[in-house]
């Protein structure tokens, strides 16, 4: 009898024992930092001396900090450029790569290549190409156009950074679309053809509605990724010229690791976390809704 009880007890505990190591890791390096971000909001902390409670001082400073609002504005504008582009361009590429052709696998590998490079390398490449006498302006000159200050013109620099993101991120979303496209039964498209639907009618009335979930996933994932952009900005522009490409993560980095203001950096990070949490709640709603239907 005792043996049986022990067995039941062990059976009850088993799943939690499996979960324990992973949950410790997640708590330590994930959940605790998130909580600590919101705690540090109320402290002045320079790493050199212990945190000092300052109440609402950081928050008050944030509200009147023009650099913060500029970084937030830039993050939003950047997202508004990048997200729609990453919904459309990878879909077109996925369509191109979904054809039945010889060597199509080879093309897929080629189109995926930008994704394999690190953001440091990508940043170096594009910084070079964007130079005032760089590759793009050379091509413009040959076409008889006047050169453009890709990185020096404050009204253009953020667009230039966005182009880099679109270049490096397209392969990722392309694969998501490609996976979606391959689930569409050929018979559906054949049926549409027999009903006399042209190519664009097929795309609009058959393919796009079936890709609805893919498009939603791409929208949310690309939004979250846009909110957290760092590498492109850090390597190519360092937030310049004159703060024109300063984004939230870059401002957090500068505040925390150049000026050593950990507390103030945490306020900025907390606003970013809140934005991300809202988006991820939307994602969970979408995800669970889908699982129930499936």
């Amino acid at each position: 009898m005792r043996n049986y009880k022990f067995y039941k007890y062990k059976k009850f505990l088993t799943p939690y024992l499996f979960l324990l190591p992973g949950l410790i890791m997640l708590s330590l390096y994930f959940f605790w930092p998130i909580i600590n971000t919101f705690r540090l909001v109320f402290y002045r902390y320079t790493i050199l001396s212990p945190p000092q409670f300052t109440g609402m001082a950081n928050i008050n400073r944030l509200i009147s900090d023009a650099h913060y609002w500029n970084a937030l504005k830039n993050t939003v504008v950047y997202s508004l450029i990048v997200v729609p582009s990453l919904i459309v361009i990878p879909l077109i590429f996925a369509g191109l790569l979904n054809q039945k052709l010889k060597f199509i696998q080879l093309y897929r590998v080629g189109y995926y290549l930008p994704r394999v490079m690190s953001l440091v390398v990508v940043g170096v490449i594009w910084k070079y190409i964007y130079q005032s006498d760089g590759l793009i302006n050379m091509v413009l000159k040959i076409l008889g156009l006047s050169p453009i200050g890709w990185l020096s013109d404050p009204s253009l620099a953020l667009v230039s950074v966005s182009i880099v993101t679109i270049w490096v991120a397209t392969p990722y979303y392309m694969i998501i679309y490609l996976a979606g496209l391959q689930t569409i039964p050929k018979t559906l498209i054949e049926a549409a053809k027999i009903d006399g639907a042209g190519y664009f009618q097929q795309v609009w009335h058959v393919i796009l509605p079936l890709l609805k979930h893919c498009i939603l996933t791409v929208t949310l994932v690309s939004t979250v990724n846009a909110m957290r952009v760092f590498g492109e900005v850090y390597i190519i522009t360092e937030g310049g010229p004159g703060g024109a490409t300063d984004v939230l993560t870059h401002y957090i980095y500068r505040t925390a690791f150049s000026r050593m203001q950990m507390g103030y950096a945490s306020v900025i990070a907390a606003t970013l976390l809140l934005l991300l949490l809202i988006i991820s709640i939307m994602y969970i709603k979408l995800f669970t809704g889908r699982e129930k239907r499936a």
């Binding site: 009850f12 088993t14 799943p15 499996f18 979960l19 992973g22 949950l23 890791m25 997640l26 390096y29 994930f30 959940f31 930092p33 998130i34 600590n36 971000t37 191109l96 054809q99 052709l101 093309y107 897929r108 080629g110 995926y112 290549l113 394999v116 490079m117 690190s118 953001l119 440091v120 390398v121 170096v124 490449i125 594009w126 070079y128 130079q131 050379m138 091509v139 000159k141 270049w167 694969i175 998501i176 996976a179 391959q182 689930t183 893919c214 996933t217 957290r228 390597i235 993560t249 957090i252 925390a256 950990m262 950096a265 976390l273 991300l276 949490l277 991820s280 709640i281 969970i284 669970t288």
Partner: protein, 277 residues
């Protein structure tokens, strides 16, 4: 009819190749520059893709500036450790979440799902404070330990476990295997392809990571390739595009080789992951 389809196929291939060349042009331009000698001007009209007198001098210079052997070793130590930790922690966590019924399972699942969306950039300040408190600043372990588990990995492996037929672990139980033995001896071998896919995807991710190692590692001797490239691009050689291009090629080469060897896993593995999500 047959002729028509040959023309049709030719046009399709031509389109795909032209767009591909355009997409990869920045990369070709980087390689071209890396082989150009000091005597050749970079900014010419028209731009020259094939160097007049190709040289490997830039590579020799980049090789020593990056302290290539040492920093490659550092990259491997950090990347492989982080990948190994992920395989361990993610499989242990994913297994009960997919194969067992217990109170609190769905809540744990949703919490992990929510953490999908929180990037290291957003928690980098408290994470650094934590590592500092643990005395792990400027050490390999301080870099790879916090990278040792990912929500993405948990979900990829959970999907893999969900696909395993149910009667297999029953057979193990009848034979008197302990739960851990069932996991280790029966289940893990069955999801080997997914473990491989996860390892490969994470390898490239961690190989390319630079923000976190840049913050944790101060000493040049233990910095990985990406951080050395950042330093190079911000230092004296920041405008020496020939050396910088060569360095960028050297830093990317291992990831690209890795990608070509395992490309099947990347495309089809990622597509399967996307389907099940």
């Amino acid at each position: 009819m047959r002729n028509n389809s040959i023309v049709n196929n030719f046009v399709r291939h031509l389109c795909l190749i032209l767009i591909l060349l355009l997409v990869l042009m920045p990369f070709f331009w980087l390689i071209a520059t890396s082989f150009k000698p000091m005597s050749e001007r970079l900014f010419t009209i028209p731009p020259r893709l094939i160097p007049l007198e190709p040289t490997t001098g830039n590579y020799r210079e980049a090789f020593s500036l990056l302290n290539m052997l040492r920093s490659t070793m550092n990259s491997f130590i950090i990347t492989l450790s982080a990948v190994a930790l992920n395989l361990f922690f993610c499989s242990l966590t994913a297994y009960p979440l997919s194969r067992m019924n217990f109170p609190g399972r769905d809540i744990i699942l949703y919490i992990i799902l929510a953490s999908f969306m929180i990037p290291v950039q957003a928690i980098i300040v408290p994470l650094f404070v934590l590592i500092q408190g643990q005395g792990l600043v400027d050490s390999y372990i301080g870099v790879f330990l916090p990278l040792g588990i990912t929500a993405f990995g948990i979900f990829l492996l959970r999907n893999a476990f969900l696909d395993v037929p149910g009667d297999l672990e029953e057979a193990g139980r009848v034979d008197g295997c302990s739960e851990f033995k069932i996991f280790y001896r029966i289940m893990l071998p069955l999801i080997k392809p997914s473990l491989a896919a996860l390892a490969i995807l994470l390898f490239v991710t961690y190989w390319n990571e630079f923000l976190w190692p840049m913050i944790v590692l101060r000493s040049l001797e233990i910095q990985p390739l990406q951080v050395r490239l950042v330093n190079l691009s911000r230092g004296l050689f920041g405008a020496d595009w020939r050396v910088l291009s060569a360095a960028a090629v050297l830093v990317t080469l291992p990831a690209i080789l890795f990608f070509f060897i395992f490309q099947r896993f990347f495309i089809s593995g990622m597509m399967e992951g996307a389907l099940k999500e």
